[in-house]
Symmetry: C2
Subunit: 190 residues, 2 copies
């Protein structure tokens, strides 16, 4: 039962995602979110918002990507989305993490997971673009609910917020319109 042993080992290992703490906080809360909670929320958002995707998507592949997209942070850690220097430095570490973590699985699944993760990172398919939009939209909604949240805490200005989040539009113009107006309204009253 070599296959099952490897699968169980992977299932136990990924429990560590629950201890990777993000910069953004739960809605109307001062408690930081962890990566497992974040991944769950994005997957449900994907279910709920799929019809707003610019292009038709295979929702199963969207959900799979969202569920595993942050697993590499078990080894590589969470890097603040606005810290672009640290993010580019972290790329090689994330690739190594993907190899180690997905390498725990039986070969066929290992390849499938690596391919899903890589597709998400590249953002070149309709599914990856829509999944990427979910990943950006959740912290926007959280920060709005927390009166600026991590934007206020780390002094991020309107221009930077729009610049980092504008890729939402590539997945969904409808959701970007919504996010854009929330962001602008927030900074106008701040």
């Amino acid at each position: 039962m070599e296959i099952l042993t490897r699968q169980i080992q992977f299932i136990v290992e990924i429990d560590k995602l629950k201890s990777v703490i993000r910069k953004s906080k739960l809605f109307k809360s001062d408690r930081e979110e962890n990566d497992a909670e974040h991944s769950w929320h994005l997957a449900v958002m994907g279910m709920v918002l799929a019809d707003h995707s610019n292009e038709q998507v295979d929702i199963l592949r969207v959900l799979k990507m969202l569920l595993i997209h942050d697993l590499v942070e078990i080894d590589a850690g969470d890097v603040f989305v606005f810290d672009t220097v640290a993010r580019s430095r972290n790329v090689a570490v994330e690739v190594e993490a993907a190899r180690r973590l997905f390498g725990l699985l039986p070969p066929e699944q290992s390849e499938e997971f690596l391919s899903l993760w890589s597709e998400f990172e590249k953002g070149e398919t309709p599914e990856a673009r829509f999944a990427g939009a979910m990943d950006k939209l959740e912290p926007v909604l959280q920060n709005i609910s927390n009166n600026g949240g991590s934007w206020t805490e780390f002094n991020v200005d309107l221009e930077e917020v729009l610049d980092i989040n504008k890729s939402i539009r590539e997945g969904s113009a409808v959701l970007w319109n919504h996010a854009h107006s929330l962001i602008v309204r927030h900074f106008n009253k701040a």
Copy 2:
């Protein structure tokens, strides 16, 4: 944009799942798991273990069920799986919770989510049986890693553990064989 407004309202509301605390703890940890982390873990387990299902399953429906199966606990709370009296008392409260929560969504999605939740609860389809097996298997693995975990804490004996978890077999005989041997070995050395 009435549809999007309702969807966003639902997305914000379900954030509360991250504050519903379970009886079982993270792997090799004394920190209790919350329902959002649990739902994420089950969904990834579903991705990884689907080939062990007794019957072929539509994995998309399995993932959707696992992602939303515990949302009713936002209103109804988490009831310990071994507290069968409280569990049967809680059924009406959960039905009411499902109506309220899924009722936040636009009508068509509201029906889809209610139907997925109800399918999971009834456990009468291959997808619901396999999803149900994931829901039982995760705390078994956690308790084994925590030297008995909630079984030890709440004085649950071998017979009760086997009785509550034997429904894993209806979703996957392979996974039940594995879980059964882990459970028996644990109680034999305890």
